[in-house]
């Protein structure tokens, strides 16, 4: 394998994992933008979606059907979460909302343990997510291609939605100032519901891709991705969708790149470097890569 091929291979790897981080980060950022809530339970929606798909697949559903149902279930779960836990504390201090989201995570994960059990289950990915293409020395698993392409398509759709549709523009306005948005005649409950539904749906998609990539699901599968997505969203500039996307890819790239170049046992220091670099990024751009300085801060 030539040096060039090696680079290309790692680039594809980075894009693939970055896409998943980005998908997750978008949902976090949308909700954060409007409510200033860091929704750690966002990761559990991945779990909800992939278990739903798993059970449907076991019952013999075709994959696409199961996937669509799973994404819808994730969206509904997100809506329910908002209605039950987050709406009553809307406007509370940031830390109170953060803790609430921890609590929701704990509830969801433990309920999952009690109902489906703590053990991992194999996730039967369909052939189009588990074939492998070979290009010379390069091998690309179709799930990676699907992840990259799906993310790209969803990003385009989402950008269109946020820029062009009334609901999308309302969402941006609500993210700026909830009260003013209401005064413009925006039904913020509806907008917030949209944000949760879309974000949760994206988490559902990410969950399915994740499950296909990893090959299994378990009640705690969302924890690590949501942490990564949170970090990605902040690094990108918290609360903005483009920021979340950029942050996701930056994080994915850093992880793969450092794992790729650190020799031998020193690769165990990868996360130290990744997170060290992230701190550096923040020191250079204190509001994230795409963040803008708010004037009030002075």
């Amino acid at each position: 394998m030539s040096f060039f091929e090696y680079g290309v291979q790692q680039l594809i790897n980075a894009l693939s994992i970055g896409s998943l981080y980005a998908l997750m980060a978008i949902g976090l950022a949308m909700v954060f933008g409007i409510l200033r809530l860091i929704n750690f339970a966002h990761g559990d929606l991945m779990m909800v979606a992939s278990y739903t798909a798993l059970f449907l697949l076991i019952d013999g559903f075709p994959f696409l059907g199961a996937a669509i149902v799973a994404v819808v279930v994730a969206a509904i779960a997100g809506l329910a979460m908002e209605r039950v836990a987050y709406r009553p504390i809307r406007g509370a201090p940031d830390v109170a909302m953060l803790l609430t989201s921890f609590a929701v995570t704990i509830v969801l994960e433990n309920v999952a343990v009690l109902t489906v059990g703590a053990r991992s289950r194999a996730f039967p990915a369909p052939p189009f997510l588990s074939t492998v293409f070979t290009l010379g020395n390069l091998t690309v698993s179709s799930v990676n291609v699907v992840a990259i392409v799906t993310t790209a398509i969803l990003l385009v759709l989402l950008t269109f939605f946020v820029r062009r549709t009334d609901t999308g523009i309302s969402m941006r306005a609500a993210a700026e100032d909830l009260v003013a948005a209401q005064l413009m005649g925006i039904n913020i409950n509806r907008v917030i519901a949209y944000a949760f539904a879309i974000g949760s749906g994206l988490a559902g998609v990410a969950g399915l891709l994740w499950a296909a990539k990893v090959g299994k699901v378990d009640p705690f599968m969302g924890f690590s991705p949501v942490l990564k997505a949170f970090i990605a969203a902040v690094i990108g500039g918290f609360g903005t969708i483009p920021g979340a996307v950029v942050g996701g890819y930056v994080l994915g790239f850093l992880e793969i790149f450092l794992q790729g170049i650190l020799p031998g046992q020193s690769s165990a220091y990868r996360d130290a470097f990744v997170f060290g670099i992230l701190i550096l990024v923040l020191l250079i751009r204190p509001n994230g890569i795409l963040g803008v300085q708010e004037r009030e801060e002075i």
Partner: protein, 381 residues
């Protein structure tokens, strides 16, 4: 059938007639380690039911008081104290990781109560805790040595080594493997690590593939939850060589997740846990587990939990007493105890059982026996 449980101040009591022999079962039933400890606890409960159905010990029923350590060091210590102090157990079993075993062990040691860990495989445990500490599984040094010797003979002297640096089990296994393998004259051509929780191994794989010449085999030291994923992703990237590992591979997930890709995978473990090809004891264990819990044993810890429970009761019976020292002595005198996960032998100086190591090969999606081995040389713990 097990008698109806009754209240015992909080602990789960699986049986409790008038006079019982109480054994503490300390497991991390929730939290990160639950995927290892729940099967172990289930195995122990299964054994308990069989023991009581067979009349218990000298007519007395055995009670297993299970408490949840929640994968939290402080809680682990709390429940140990509770089991010893409030529940007055005569012996304790449980925990599949050294962190918890080492948090609980010294408390048992101080109270003079024997403690058998159902899954922690660090061979140093008894020397770290004292004479009340026993292991049911073999030490990692033993299985790593077997893995190294087997692979060196069968595949050749060039190895690739990947391990999870975040857990003790995978670290020890990799260390012992490296020691024994280089001692044999083998060479680790590329060594790489991943972080606990990583589920994407593409970067490591690309690095392995960029080696000019591929190694003779790939030794991957991973926990049960990761192993299916690793094998799947290695194979998908076009790496076809033999993959070798330890008893973390002994889980149905390996074949379920990796499918055909799991062929040409070899691993060391306690016994061939196969419903079709295994021994009679294994077959009936799997059958009983399925009946009780509705699915196959999740991993080797189920069998280890089962054996641990059986072992401690056997020792109590042989000791004819519930005195801690007597029970410990009985365990030390155990010879040829027929566990599901291999025969157990202890002595006063060996609290880590002398056990044969089973080498499994995955063929056509099935676990098959590749070898039964005792290592020529074991790295010092």
């Amino acid at each position: 059938t097990a008698p109806a449980p009754s209240s015992t101040g909080g602990g789960e009591a699986a049986s409790a007639p008038a006079e019982t022999i109480k054994i503490g079962g300390a497991f991390n039933l929730t939290g990160e380690l639950s995927s290892l400890d729940v099967p172990a606890a289930n195995g122990a409960k299964l054994a308990l039911a069989e023991i009581n159905a067979a009349g218990g010990v000298d007519g007395k029923q055995v009670e297993l008081i299970i408490r949840d350590g929640k994968t939290d060091p402080a809680t682990v210590a709390n429940i140990t104290t509770q089991l010893i102090d409030s529940d007055k157990v005569v012996a304790m079993i449980g925990f599949t990781d050294s962190d918890s075993a080492l948090a609980a062990g010294p408390l048992c040691q101080e109270a003079g109560i024997p403690f058998i860990t159902a899954g922690a495989t660090s061979p140093k445990l008894p020397s770290q805790v004292g004479d009340m500490m026993f292991l049911t599984p073999f030490g990692d040094n033993v299985q790593a040595a077997v893995g190294a010797e087997f692979a060196y003979d069968r595949f050749g002297p060039k190895a690739y080594l990947l391990w999870d640096k975040g857990t003790e089990y995978t670290t020890l296994l990799a260390d012992y493997f490296k020691t024994r393998f280089t001692e044999l004259g083998g060479e680790i051509v590329l060594e790489d690590t991943y972080q606990s929780g990583d589920k994407d191994f593409s970067a490591q794989i690309a690095k392995a593939k960029s080696l000019g010449e591929q190694p003779d085999f790939y030794y991957i030291s991973a926990v049960p939850d990761d192993i299916g994923t690793t094998v799947k992703q290695f194979r998908e990237a076009g790496i076809t060589g033999p993959i070798v590992g330890g008893d973390g591979y002994d889980t149905p997930l390996l074949v379920e997740v990796a499918g055909d890709a799991a062929n040409n995978v070899f691993f060391t473990t306690h016994a061939l846990m196969d419903a079709d090809n295994g021994s009679e004891a294994v077959k009936s264990f799997i059958e009983a587990y399925r009946t009780e819990y509705g699915h196959d044993p999740e991993n080797a810890f189920a069998a280890l939990g089962y054996d641990t429970m059986k072992l401690i009761v056997d020792a109590i019976q042989r000791a004819g007493s519930t005195d801690g020292a007597a029970i410990a002595k009985a365990i030390e005198e155990t010879q040829g105890f027929p566990g599901v996960a291999g025969e157990l032998n202890y002595s006063a100086s060996e609290h880590v059982p002398r056990k044969g190591v089973t080498m499994i090969e995955v063929k056509d999606g099935k676990f098959t026996l590749a070898a039964e081995m005792v290592p020529e040389k074991v790295p010092a713990p």
